[in-house]
């Protein structure tokens, strides 16, 4: 198949139907062929191909020096990754679940994020940290958390979260080429559900540009990752039940944030709902509310509503009620009209 390149808008790129998993795998293959400084490593990324299969075939194709398993230490994975990046490589480190990143958190916050700044630009850390995040797979609190807010609050890091296979591929390739450390968070709930046309071969999506996932006029919904399809269903409900025309903005990158697109949309609609899976208090959605309340409050015709995970650890049996679902989001949308 062929389709218009979603990034440039021009040309006819060849495409192929892929799941998000396949698109991520494809992105790494493309970049590993393209740049021999790219190495992929982490726990079980070699022969096993990753616990979700995102690194399937890489070890076979590129060998031990380019794709390898590591000892069970996130501290080591990330510390070694920083060293590689400082030395001039393009490390792509996989953290098996985002919940397990904390043993290596120091290397991200204190080292990767600050290397360029603290050395006056002499040393840089172009590393990508890939990790599946979020709920939706019955993983309990240690295989389900969404802690993007921690990283967004850490100057020096970029934070990227795709919601479609094509974006996953394009954003991942752009992240690997980026000169700064990037947290590339993969919404595991839609690893296989998201399935769509993806450009074959070379394909990049610029970091820092949001995507209007759906145009609308009455209310803006800001979301990212696995919440995008949930919000799309909620928008359908809001349309059906109350005739609301919902605009959905898929942020794609949280840092750098595309404030321009956000503010344009909310100024147009005058109403906004912010949706995220993480615990409500202190989540990145609060930052979005705050930006709007600081820069566009005079356009607001209702409260800035947040629909988010609850302020509890991620539960196991009650996961379906913990995560924002279409009904809950639709209720949030309605609240911007009637409160």
């Amino acid at each position: 198949m062929t389709a218009t390149n979603p990034q440039t808008g021009k040309g006819q790129a060849k495409t192929k139907v892929m799941t998000m998993l396949e698109a991520i795998n494809d992105a790494m293959k493309v970049e590993m062929r393209n740049d021999d400084r790219v190495v992929v490593f982490g726990e079980d990324v070699g022969k096993k191909g990753g616990v979700f299969g995102t690194t399937m075939g890489l070890h076979e194709q590129f060998g031990d020096n380019r794709c390898f398993d590591t000892p069970l230490s996130e501290c080591g994975i990330l510390g070694a990754g920083v060293g590689m990046a400082v030395y001039g490589m393009r490390p792509v480190a996989e953290i098996q679940f985002l919940d397990f990143i904390y043993p290596g958190f120091d290397q991200i916050v204190s080292e990767a994020a600050k290397m360029r700044y603290r050395s006056g630009g002499e040393y840089t850390c172009p590393m990508v940290i890939r990790s599946p995040y979020g709920g939706g797979i019955r993983g309990g609190h240690y295989h389900s958390q969404s802690s993007e807010a921690y990283f967004c609050h850490t100057p020096g890091l970029k934070v990227v979260i795709p919601s479609t296979p094509a974006d996953a591929k394009g954003l991942l390739i752009s992240s690997i080429r980026d000169e700064d450390p990037v947290m590339f968070l993969e919404p595991k709930a839609i690893y296989r559900h998201a399935k769509d046309e993806v450009p074959v071969g070379e394909h990049t999506v610029e970091l820092g540009k949001a995507r209007i996932a759906r145009e609308g006029t009455d209310v803006t919904v800001l979301c990212y990752g696995a919440m995008v399809p949930v919000c799309e269903k909620a928008a359908d409900l809001a349309q059906e039940e109350h005739g609301r025309s919902v605009e959905i903005v898929d942020l794609r990158t949280l840092v750098p944030l595309d404030e321009h697109t956000i503010l344009e949309s909310v100024k147009k609609t005058g109403r906004v709902v912010v949706v995220y899976e993480a615990p409500k208090t202190g989540g990145f959605g609060g930052e979005l509310s705050a930006i709007i309340a600081e820069k566009a409050i005079e356009y607001m015709e209702g409260p800035i509503v947040r629909v988010a995970g609850f302020d509890t650890p991620f539960p196991y049996s009650l996961e379906h009620l913990y995560m924002p679902d279409p009904k809950r989001v639709a209720a949030g949308i309605e609240k911007t009209f009637v409160w």
């Binding site: 590591t70 043993p103 939706g136 309990g140 049996s317 009620l321 924002p324 679902d325 009904k327």
Partner: protein, 370 residues
């Protein structure tokens, strides 16, 4: 200098002269039955997962001697900071099957209220501290608890477990270091089953053994045949006594094998040589101990039947009871975040209650790990 591998039972089940701990007959039979029950529980757990009745399972098959032999050296008042592959200890400490199985279902019969994935048990009545998924975190906690008990002049001993992969964790390093510096009464058991999911020992560490890592902390390190329950018991008992005497911690490496795949989500055939697996199957710790009992004339067909079939029946009955327990109610989601809920939690609870009343809420949820 390589560490010797401590063994008592030869492969025919004979104890080496002078090394048999000479446990009383009924205790030997009790241990055997516990091993069989642990295996039976495991088989049932995996079956339930395969039938889609529970969401996840993780087996300890092949490691029964390793965790039962070590925990058996404790007193009931001693504490455990376990990893996730020592279910037999729950049986040793007399937790009823229903309670264990209810945890798999995560329903109202579960002591942890359906909050965790299957096999992440917590049983205060057994001094068995809540299991968490992040590898290794229990090791430094055990050190801290040991430091506290010692400072207070109590004689509790703390036993904590990790895998071979766990030796690479931050907490292995600081946990062993703290325990040694403060001479805390802790026994660290590293169950070396050869694999950390798909990563074999030689990619985990270049050290000649896990036990030798004890040198780095100035504590004794012992390597023991983990499929030999008497040997495991014997070395652990010494370590427990040393700890209780105030002479500090020990690292014990039990050399064993993960017979099953890592968990219900894993397929070991993708990365593991069949031959290795088959060789280890021949070293089954239950069969080995059975041969010993036979030598000692403590084994009979009837006894075997009681241990295997009898246990299976009990487990089957317990599954029925556990599965029939009502689900946890939505309101329980907001409990136990703090001792007393914050205003925010109260508001959120009410919000969810209202949504549930209106109907139609509930996110789609897939399977682990897809």
């Amino acid at each position: 200098m390589s560490l010797e591998l401590v063994t008592i039972l030869d492969k025919d089940g004979k104890a080496q002269r002078g090394k048999d701990p000479n446990l009383p007959p009924e205790e030997l039979q009790r241990l055997y039955k516990l091993m069989c029950a642990t295996r039976a529980l495991d088989e049932r757990g995996l079956a339930l997962q395969r039938q889609g009745r529970i969401g996840f399972y993780l087996q300890s098959t092949g490691q029964e001697a390793s965790h039962l032999g070590s925990a058996y050296a404790l007193q009931d008042s001693d504490w455990l900071f376990p990893a996730y592959r020592q279910p037999g200890i729950l049986l040793l400490r007399q937790i009823p099957y229903e309670k264990i199985i209810a945890e798999w279902f995560g329903n109202s019969g579960d002591t942890s209220k359906g909050r965790q994935m299957p096999v992440h048990y917590s049983f205060r009545q057994a001094n068995f501290v809540s299991i968490s998924s992040p590898i290794g975190t229990q090791l430094s906690q055990a050190a801290g608890a040991g430091m506290a008990a010692k400072a207070r002049g109590e004689d509790t001993v703390f036993m904590t477990f990790c895998g071979d992969g766990g030796t690479s964790s931050n907490d292995f390093h600081c946990g062993l270091n703290f325990a040694a510096v403060y001479k805390a009464p802790v026994v660290f058991v590293c169950e070396n089953n050869g694999w950390a999911i798909s990563v074999p020992n030689d990619k985990q560490t270049a050290s000649e053994s896990m036990a030798i890592k004890a040198d780095a902390y100035g504590m004794p390190g012992v390597r023991v045949d983990g499929n030999d329950i008497l040997a495991v018991y014997r070395v652990t008992k010494e370590a427990v006594e040393r700890a209780r005497r105030g002479d500090g911690p020990t690292l014990i490496e039990t050399v064993t094998y993960r017979i099953a795949s890592h968990s219900s989500s894993d397929d070991a055939d993708r990365y593991r040589d069949k031959k290795e697996f088959e060789a280890w199957q021949k070293k089954d710790p239950i069969a080995r101990f059975q041969r010993y009992l036979k030598h000692k004339k403590l084994w009979s067909e009837d006894f075997e039947n009681e241990c295997v079939e009898g246990t299976k029946d009990e487990i089957a009955a317990a599954v029925k009871v556990a599965e029939a327990m009502p689900p946890v109610g939505p309101e329980t989601m907001f409990e136990d975040v703090y001792m007393n809920p914050t205003q925010q939690l109260k508001d959120q609870k009410k919000h969810l209650h209202d949504l549930v009343q209106k109907g139609g809420v509930g996110a789609e949820v897939g399977h682990f790990p897809l």
